[in-house]
Point group: C2
Chain length 192, copies 2
Amino acid sequence: MSVPYALLALLIDGPKYGLRLQNEFEARTGEVWPLNVGQVYTTLQRLERDGLVESDDEGERSQKRYRITPAGEHDLAAWLRTPPDLVPPPRDELVIKVLVALQIPGIDVHEILQAHRRHVIEVMQRYTRIKAGAAKDDVALALVADAELFRLEGIVRWLDAADARLKQHQPPTPAEVADLTPEPSAELEVLP
Amino acid sequence: MSVPYALLALLIDGPKYGLRLQNEFEARTGEVWPLNVGQVYTTLQRLERDGLVESDDEGERSQKRYRITPAGEHDLAAWLRTPPDLVPPPRDELVIKVLVALQIPGIDVHEILQAHRRHVIEVMQRYTRIKAGAAKDDVALALVADAELFRLEGIVRWLDAADARLKQHQPPTPAEVADLTPEPSAELEVLP
DNA sequence: CGACACATGTAACACGTTACATGATTTG
DNA sequence: CAAATCATGTAACGTGTTACATGTGTCG
């Protein structure tokens, strides 16, 4: 539920029309998070239905300008100050794939983990290239690319941890082996 | 798009009815990824419509058993062998919030970053507790909790990196300052 | 009997995606 | 004028969520 508020935010500095909103959104995140134009129009209609924007139906040059309403500003401010819901987290497709593979007999889970790892690393190189190619003052794109890189890095770390964990639990169940898997947050300080 | 395939996978070892599928799903991931019962039924209907499951309408004890079809097994195998789409990545609500806050004048982004950081750390402690409380042989729950912990750790790392990056770019633009932000993948080997 | 858990389902809605259709404006 | 680009929209569909309604079996 980010796109509606992102559009509201783009309307803070004056009324704009649909395609321009899409352009401004993609100017910041485009290569990483493309935004379908159609979605901009449907989202604007829903925002107008909910009274968060108004359309300036002046027919000027066949452009339809939208303006944020006081209610829209209020909702935007409230959204901004609310931390994103972290529980329950989204169900991760990769994790579910591994769980499913674990349950079905005759599947080499280690091989699957490695395949996914290679794939993630490839994609990470893609975003590293995007980040390197970004203009030096393009903070937004750098932040977005960073976010994706940190996310993918987390996936790689999980794949490695899962591999280690399964190597302990899949063999003839050596139950007496101590749990040696590293704490994910070992290197993180609780206070910055 | 994971739930349909998770249900298919649970049907591999014999026909089961709706509520039992929900129970088995939550037995593995419940505390982390609860699954609404209603969604199980609607998903089963959609799977039946697509010919991936068949219902054993024997009316036994008012339970409706579903059985996976050959087409369902085929689709499940294909899904399992396909790596999840990583591009384009999902639009991250937290990242968009920060971008929006950056654009609106008169907002203390540093304060927002810290608030989010504290919140994420709290949630991480929650999942650490879940992991600690899990049975020693409950590999599934450990994997799921780990996945969430690594994901949240990535978010914290991003928040810290964003904070550092903004401290460089928000002051009177000292353009000559070299880019010192650490590479997210610095400690990661490409080959495990 | 009454309460409770078991079990199934539906209705309405949200956001997101894709594909397609249509008009207006600029430019070679 | 013709083609390309700008600009708006719609239609159909997908997964996911919540709230509500309904029936069935069991047990004190």
